[in-house]
Every structure is written in structure tokens, then in C-alpha cells.
């Protein structure tokens, strides 16, 4: 990877609050024009890491470079940030509010006006421009906050749990916008603990747990490194088979099918034979990649 393609470079960064170490020796590189998933359980240090990247707090040790420069207040204008802790001025009209957030990023009111209209209609809430924020539903407020983060057309967009609390229709709408932004060359850091979302849109991921990095790489890499050791099943009868821990290490029963993770050294062939022998009727038997969720849980438990 050559340096021109790196938007954010975090190098051996640590941050402590009193006795508590929030981030320990974290290094990561975010490639330009890609969606980078910053994943980890609650309290892993994601938000603290992001705050250091946006220059809200300074690291105790280590360095952070954004677009090849040490982060400073000038660079802040090229970053769009949607924090997990977010709100709006309750008594301010949506349009005025967005204009204000734009001005805070050095966008003049005149430029902002057109963009506000464009994004409000893109996110299907144009009629709310002159309404006060307190009249909006939570989901609509979230869309307004999202617009506030992208209004100044940042080169780097940082989204912390952007979809939490949204209905599936709006999740899809925002996902589409995020993917479009990526295609137009923006770099996106996406922090979440919702693995399904990360799996759908991230190109690269970094997993942190207990203040430290557990894994970093492309989604492809991590998936293939885990191999195809999961099986998706749809069958009837033969229930005792899945209880054998020498064969299966984990069983997830969904409503219409069952996903099993094979035990180390067990083979799918043996599982299939055992099921047939026990008289089960098998409708579906498919080797699949592990889900990011499974990888996440495996890594986190292994790490703890």
C-alpha cells in the first residue's frame, strides 16, 4: 500500500483516562475511497479512537495522520463526523440548523442553501425544512444529523453507529447514500457493533476489543482465513446428531434453517453421513462462509 492511498494513518496510539486505558498501542490504516469498518463490542475503545482522529481529544502517545498531515483544526473541515452521541437544537428549524452546521465547517450560507435542499429531498424529508427539530420523529432527526455530517462534502466521513434505531427502509436508503459517497471517492470510517450491516457495506475492517486491535484487513481476507467450516441446513428428524460436540461446536437455529459451525477436525462429510444414518430428511445442506458475526464472537471470546 503506498502512502498516497492512505487517508488515515493511526500509529501506536494510546489514550488513558486516569486509571483507565481506553486505547492501547492502536495502529491502523484506512485506505482512500473505501469503507473501513471499525468494529468491536461496547466499550472497546471505538469512540475514543474516532475522537482522536477528528481532533476532539489528543492521544497520550503515538501519532495520527489524516491525508498525510498531522491532524489539526484546518483538517477538521475536511472531515464529516456523525457521532454516536448526537442531537439537534430542539427549537431551531431544520434548514437553519443545517446551515449553522455547514457554517461551522466553513461553508457559506449561500452554498449551503442548495445542498440542504438537495439532501433533504434525497433523504425524502424536504417538507420538514421549516419545521423545528422537536417536531421530528427520531428517525427523521437522525437523517437530519446525517445530512449535517456530509453537507460540507468531506473527503473523510466518519459514521459512528449511523443506523441504530432506524427502520429497514431508512437503513437501506442511507446505505445507498453511503455507497454512492464511496463511489464518488470519499473515504468512510464506519463504526458499529451491528455485524450484518458491516458485512454488507465494509471493504476493510478492524476489530478492536478491550482497547486493543484484534484484527485488521479486508473483509475478504478475514472471511477466507476462517475457511468454509460452517454448514447451512434444513432438515427434519435426527436431532441428537447436532448435540455431539465432537462434531459441531456451535448451532444457530433460525426460523427456517439451522446454521452450524463444525468442531475443529470434524468434517462436513461425517456430519452429513451421521444425519442420513439417523434417518433425518435433508432438504438443504450447504457449506457456507462464517458470518462476520461468528468471526466477531469467536475473536472476541478467544481474545478475552
Amino acid at each position: 500500500m503506498d502512502n498516497n492511498n492512505i487517508s488515515v494513518k493511526v500509529d501506536r496510539v494510546s489514550k488513558t483516562f486516569g486509571e483507565f486505558t481506553a486505547v492501547r498501542e492502536l495502529s491502523l490504516s484506512v485506505r482512500a475511497g473505501r469503507i473501513f469498518g471499525l468494529l468491536g463490542p461496547n466499550g472497546a475503545g471505538k469512540t475514543t479512537s474516532i475522537r482522536m482522529i477528528v481532533n476532539i481529544t489528543a492521544p497520550d502517545t503515538g501519532t495520527i495522520e489524516v491525508f498525510g498531515q498531522k491532524i489539526d483544526s484546518q483538517l477538521q473541515d475536511r472531515i464529516g463526523y456523525l457521532p454516536e452521541e448526537r442531537g439537534l437544537y430542539k427549537r431551531m428549524k431544520v434548514g437553519d440548523q443545517l446551515k449553522f452546521f455547514g457554517e461551522l465547517k466553513n461553508v457559506s450560507g449561500k452554498d449551503a442553501e442548495g445542498r440542504i435542499d438537495h439532501w433533504l429531498s434525497r433523504l425524502k424529508i424536504p417538507e420538514w425544512k421549516n419545521k423545528k427539530a422537536m417536531e421530528l420523529s427520531k428517525g427523521m432527526q437522525q437523517k437530519v444529523q446525517f445530512i449535517a455530517a456530509i453537507l460540507h462534502e468531506p473527503d473523510l466521513l466518519i459514521l459512528d453507529e449511523p443506523f441504530s434505531g432506524l427502520d429497514p427502509v431508512n437503513v437501506e436508503l442511507l446505505e445507498k447514500v453511503v455507497l454512492e459517497l464511496k463511489l464518488s471517492g470519499k473515504t468512510i470510517i464506519f463504526s458499529t457493533h451491528q455485524m450484518e450491516v458491516a458485512e454488507r457495506i465494509c471493504d476493510d475492517i478492524c476489530l478492536i476489543n478491550r482497547s486493543q486491535k484484534v484484527f485488521e484487513g479486508s473483509l475478504r481476507e478475514i472471511k477466507s482465513s476462517f475457511g468454509r467450516n460452517s454448514v447451512a441446513l434444513r432438515f427434519e428428524g435426527g436431532n441428537g446428531v447436532l448435540a455431539d460436540t465432537s462434531l459441531v461446536s456451535k448451532v444457530d437455529r433460525h426460523s427456517d434453517e439451522t446454521e452450524v459451525l463444525l468442531a475443529p477436525n470434524a468434517s462436513a462429510q461425517v456430519l452429513l453421513r451421521r444425519l442420513v444414518d439417523s434417518g433425518a430428511t435433508i432438504e438443504k445442506f450447504e457449506m457456507i462462509e462464517p458470518s462476520l458475526n461468528d468471526i466477531f464472537i469467536a475473536k472476541v471470546t478467544e481474545n478475552s
Partner: protein
Amino acid sequence: MIKFLAIVKREYVQRVKARMFIVMTVLGPVMLVVFTIVPGLLFSLKTGGDTRLAIVDQTAGGALFEPIRNSILQLQVYDDKNLGERIESQVNSNTTRRIENASQAFSAGFSIERVDPTGKSIDSVKQGLNARIGRDELDGYLLIPPDILTNNDSKPAYYGRNGGDMVTTGQIQRRLDNAIRRQRLLASGVKESEIETLSKQVNLQTFPINEKGEEGAQDSGLARFMVVFMIAFLIYLTVLLYGQVVLGAVVEEKETRIAEILFSSVHSFKLMFGKLIGVSLVALTQLAIWGVVFMAISVWGIAALSSRGVQGITVPSLPPMFFLYFTLFFLLGYFLYSTIYLLIGSMVTTTQEGGQMAMPVVFLLMAGLYMAFTVIRSPNSHFAFWVSMIPFFSPITMIVRIVSQTPPMWQILLSLGIGALTVVLLLWLASRIYRIGMLMYGKKATIPEVMRWVRQQ
């Protein structure tokens, strides 16, 4: 600069547009009138009819009854000049005098009856009157001792139901005093016509001399004191009205969870400074509106009074330079106290918490006012010098010194400089505490924690 202006603009526009601001701007002057005039009126208003008073005159032949009665009933009529004096004194006097004067103007009536004690023991007369008071046929009676004209220590007495009606007893006291002194003078041979001229009050005229040894125009010092009081009151009022607003402005982003978005765009010092300026402009807007209204009313009022022949209402006249000082020290005072509210706002998570913490600020302000009384008596003492250098007292104490005995320019500038530096320091401190405190997941900060944050890099 766009960022800073955006913050100032938002704070200003949002507040000036708010319904609360408009309501307060209109209600402010109304409330001022209500709170200064209405209590006096209420106090002077005596509901229920005349005070029924009996006079028991024990002097020989009851000769004092007539003069006392006339005095209490105020049978001598005021001439026009007198009326003018009374209104003038009403405009320029302090509250207690004003209440008394107002009460005179709205004088409650008396109805007076004569009780002749001849031939009865004084105890039986008193018993009879006490019983009548008990039956509510009488409100009170005056007992005039027989030797009142000859013995200076002889004391008349008042017996009545309502001893708490200070206005009435005060009136009786003053009018009785008048009548008896007059009678004593007459008894000692002073001619009726001379009494008025001989008992006229002596007025002391005061003339200020400045540091160059020049004599100024006659000036009782009252005007100067009034000006000091006005400045103190103005600071007090603005801080009281707008301290909470500043606090609210700082807490707003914490309560609405916007702080983090702001910090990803703007430095906290700029944010704090912008908020302070924005809210201050709101305060100045409101004060300016009130000021214009007040001026208009005053000009109209003085014109109205003088057209009715009322003379001598003094508008405090001061050198123009003083107005510059007032403006500077008023602004300094306002900013000093506002930044304290800013600091408190940076430490707490809700306005309610902040309100509790802000209580002592008012005491600080009061302390400055009390020191002003000491300073005005010796404006060039060491004490006066030092308290006019301490930031939180200087806006009031330095103004006192300037109007009473203008100190050297370097002292004025030093005082302003120290004050301004304190404002910047507090602003810096507040922005620091705000930024670090916000990252601590919105919990209320303890003082040791705050100290640690300040030191933290």
C-alpha cells in the same frame, strides 16, 4: 471567522426571536414600575375610614386641644411652592422617605374628639376609653400630660389598637411634635409670626474640588452616589437576568448532545467566546430598548412636572468622560460575572444543577456593593485602592472612586486590564473544562476532577 460569527449569530438570533425575550422586553419596564411604585402606594393606602382619635388634654383649661387637633388634621393648606417642594423631595428621596411622603399625599383622614378629664381620675378616663377601643368605637387616644409645656421630659402617650400601623403613628408623632413645639415657643414669648422663620432648616451646601485645585459647581454628592448606585444596579440586574441565560447557553449542547458535533468543527474556546458574545448582544439589545423607553419616560415626566410649576428636579450632570468609564466598567462587570456563569455551565450537565451552584455569585456581587459604601467615604485609602483592583469588585468600587475622587489614569487602566485578563482566563478555563468534561460521558464533575482536567494536556 465564519465559524465564530455563525456561533454568535445563532446564539443571538435564536434568543431574540424567542417569545420569552419579547415578553420580557415588554414586561420589564412594567414590572420595574410595579415593583417601585406599587409597594409605596399599597403601604400608604389606608382601607377603612378615618382613624378615630380621642385627645385627653390634661393641661390647664385644655388649651392644647385646639392646636393639636389642627396640626393632626393638617388644617393649614399648602401653597403651590410647598407642593413643588413636596414632589421634588418625592422624586429625589430614598424609599422610606418616599413611602412617608406618598402617604402624606394620600393622607388618611382623622376624626378627632375631645375628652375632658376635669373632675375625673385619669385612670377612670383611661378605663372608659380602653373599653370603647375594645368595642371598636374608637381607634386610639392621645394622653397629654399637664406639664407638657413646662417640662421638657414630659412625654405624651398614644394608646391604640393598631400599633403596627407605622404610617398612622408616625403621622401622629410628627404632627403632635409640631404642635407642641410651637406651643412651647409661644409660651416662652416668641411671636407667632417669627416661629416659621426661626425654625427654618439649615442647609449645607457642598462644593467639590478636583485634583487640580479647581472648584466645581455646587453638588450635594447625591447625584454621584445615585450614579454609582445605578451602575451597581445595572450590573446586578443584567447579571441576574442574563447569568442564567449564559449558563443555559453553555449547557444547551450538553443537554441536546450536540457538543461532540461542535467539537469536531470548532475549538472550544471559540465556541465559548462566541456564546458569550452572542448572549451579551442579546442582553445589550434588551437593555438598549429599556434604556430608550426609560429616557423617553423621564424626559416626558420631567417636562410634565415642570409644566406644572415643579422646579429643581436635578438630573445628575457629570463630565462626558465619566460615561466612557461607566460603559467600560459596566461591560467589564457584566463579562466578569457572565464568565463565572460560563464556568459553572461548563462543569454541570443540567441548568438546574447550575442554578444551585450559581447562588454564591450573587453574594460576590453584593460584597462589591457593600465595599462601595466604605470606599465612597475614603476613596483614596489603601483599602479603596486594593478593592478597586480585585476583578469581581472593581466594576463597582472603581466607579465609586472615579465619581467621588478620580484616581490617577494608570490605576483605572490597571483595574480594567486586570479585569479583562480575568475574563479571558475564565473563558479559557471554562472552554477547557467544557471540552474535557463533555468527553467524560456527561457526568457531573467534582471539584478535584475539574482541577485535574485543567492540568491535563
